[in-house]
Amino acid sequence: MPQTASIGAKPAVLVIEDERALAEEIRYELQAEGYPVALAETRAEGLRVARAGGAAVLVVDRMLNHEDGLSILEALREEGNPTPILVISALSTVDDRIRGLKAGGDDYLVKPFELRELTARVEALSRRIPDSRATRLRAGPLEMDLVERSVRRGERRVELLPREFKLLEYFMRRPNQIVTRAMLLEDVWNYKFLPQTNVVDVHIGNLRRKIDAGGEPRLIVNVRAAGFKLHVDD
């Protein structure tokens, strides 16, 4: 993929999707976010481009024109290729999801999805949180001690409930990265469904009130039509 290899700051994404219209939309959205994008329509083409290297994240449709997209994952994983893979699928049962992850997928998104949800997940995959054993997290003015379970913003100590602590930890491990509601539900609460009400927003609201006191600038910001972001200057 010479034409897409590291043009900008963002890593390249290979989208293996046989539905032209959807593939184009995905490409448009990812490119708008600054990702170089390559498209492949068939299993063979996808495998070839993926093997050539250059893509930092793969987006693979599970059903490719009667071909099994999961076999791409299996083939790549068998060859020891560790590129993070996001599986998109019309199959939505828990079983399907488990099969997709077992085949080597790192994340699973069910059609129809919001394009912002997809880009957020691609971003999460491309950043891959380094498995840090650090007991302290730092993001902008925020400082978190994982052993003492304490949080400070600058000099001010912030008192958090356990669930708020977990929520903030998730954001602090992903500074400046879009985090969607579905991601929070899956990763923070381990819930595999979307509540019909804005519960997550209420949790975020509570957390915000505690970390942004007085006239302090807002750290967790809303990202329109996508979710939230812990906005800090590096």
């Binding site: 828990v94 819930y191 595999k192 019909q196 009400t197 519960v199 209420v202 609201g205």
Partner: protein, 474 residues
């Protein structure tokens, strides 16, 4: 309606086979009788002749001649032979005209062709010959023509009896074949109509209980079930069509109006946003429908394991507490002890979450919501009650139907989708889901078999290990 079909029918073929069997059996019986009869008569005749010949050996010549003459004279049917031959085989007196080719050993012999007295075909007879002291040979015999005649009569009787029996059996067979065919014909007709799409048609059933009736009844029950399922499917299809088309139609209208009349970017934007909203609703409906279908197809997933409903409720309480607070609704949890069931934790959590979601949604500010979990007498129960507007009695069945939207629609969307998923989860687990009057408000109750503990001690241990689960907040 005696058609060729009757002859082809199973019943008639059975009759045919039956007739053949009867005929074969009768033939065997008659043959046995015939053989028995023939050999017995021949044996009797032979024995009598031997006896007489032996006795005649001691008679004087004159007396013997007189007896021969008398015997022949009294033989009106001309069945008996009695002859005296000299040592050279020349006839001295009586009948037959020449010495039969047998040894004079005093034992009965069958001679196939005896020169008869006068014209006529050679006779079959049994002869006994003895040599007298003077060298002459006495021959006594009896024709078998009488016996042969009897044999013929027996054979004819057999033939005469067999033919009408066979015909009778075939007639009866044809009669039953026709009857069976009439019933099969009506069944065929019914099946043809069913195949043409008239699923309300049923196979004819007679009052008598025979095997055909039993099959017909079975098929009818099967048709009832198919009809029920199809009806259900059609309803679901209608529901889906409605729930999908309505938001699609609205989305389409919004876009159309935006294109026609939207003159500013802002107007277009708002039209698009509204359209997107409705498209999302369609997507949510499809997802919910697929999930409910997958669950209703009834596979008990391998993911079933022990689930503590109290722990699930406690987690959800914590999850929803901020939302309730933000709405000014007091939410409370009463799950002091573990309530273990066998099930899929994720699905049960989603189901209870839907109930809590609804409860908070439908409870006005200042109201109360209670999440309770308990286990007693082998039953585990989860109750989610609110002080909202409640569910009118006439709607209490309907709200669990797929995608039902009660009068509460509009104010809060998604009510139907959520409850249909709760109902599907309950069904998958074999749990019972009901809604009761909470006076005021609604109380949703999910009840299932709890997992049995071996001892009270186990209960206490788990209870002690679990965090305190009796909380209230306002």
């Amino acid at each position: 309606m005696w058609t060729i079909d009757v002859l082809r029918s199973r019943a008639f073929r059975l009759a045919l086979a039956f007739a053949a069997a009867i005929a074969a059996a009768a033939t065997v019986v008659f043959t046995l009788i015939y053989l028995q009869f023939s050999s017995a008569s021949e044996h009797m005749v032979g024995a009598r002749l031997s006896d007489e010949a032996t006795r005649a050996l001691v008679e004087s010549d004159d007396e013997l001649r007189a007896q021969i003459t008398q015997r022949l004279a009294s033989d009106l049917l001309r069945l008996d032979y009695a002859g005296l031959f000299d040592a050279n085989g020349v006839l001295l007196l009586g009948d037959p005209p020449s010495l039969p080719p047998i040894r004079p050993d005093g034992r009965p012999h069958l001679v196939d062709s005896v020169p008869t007295r006068g014209a006529g075909r050679p006779d079959q007879a049994i002869f006994v010959a003895v040599r007298r002291a003077d060298g002459s040979i006495l021959v006594l015999g009896r024709s078998l023509s009488e016996i042969n005649d009897l044999r013929g009569t027996v054979a004819r009787a057999l033939a005469l009896a067999l033919a009408p029996t066979t015909i009778l059996i075939l007639v009866i067979g044809a009669f039953f074949a026709r009857r069976a065919q009439r019933r099969l014909g009506s069944i065929h007709a019914a099946i043809a109509e069913i195949m043409n799409g008239d699923l309300k048609q049923r196979l004819p059933v007679k009052s008598e209980v025979d095997d055909l009736d039993r099959v017909a009844r079975g098929v009818n029950l099967m048709l009832d079930e198919i009809w029920r399922l199809l009806d259900q499917l059609r309803h679901i299809g209608d529901d889906i069509a409605h729930d999908l088309r309505t938001p699609l139609a609205v989305a389409r209208a919004k876009i159309e109006r935006g294109l026609e009349r939207g003159s500013t970017i802002e107007e277009l934007r708002s039209a698009m946003a509204e359209a997107l909203n409705h498209l999302d609703r369609s997507a949510a409906t499809i997802s919910a429908f697929l999930r409910v279908s997958a669950m209703e197809s009834g596979r008990r997933e391998r993911s079933f394991g022990p689930v503590d409903l109290s722990a699930v409720c406690a987690g959800l309480f914590e999850f929803y507490e901020p939302l309730a607070q933000s709405k000014g609704v007091a939410i409370a949890l009463a799950a002091p002890r573990p309530a273990l069931v066998r099930g899929d934790e994720d699905l049960l959590r989603e189901a209870i979450s839907n109930l809590v979601d609804n409860a908070i949604k439908f409870t006005p500010e200042g109201g109360r919501v209670l999440i309770a979990a308990a286990a007693a007498d082998g039953r585990a129960t989860v109750e989610v009650s609110d002080s909202g507007s409640g569910v009118p009695p006439q709607d209490r069945e309907d709200i669990f139907r797929r995608f039902y939207r009660g009068a509460r629609d509009g104010a809060a969307q998604g009510y139907g989708l959520g409850l249909s998923i709760v109902a599907a989860v309950a069904k998958l687990h074999g749990f019972c889901l009901t809604v009761e009057d909470n006076a005021p408000g609604a109380r949703f109750v999910l009840r299932g078999d709890s997992m049995v503990f071996d001892s009270d001690e186990a209960t206490r241990d788990i209870g002690a290990a679990a965090p305190k689960r009796l909380k209230t907040s306002a």
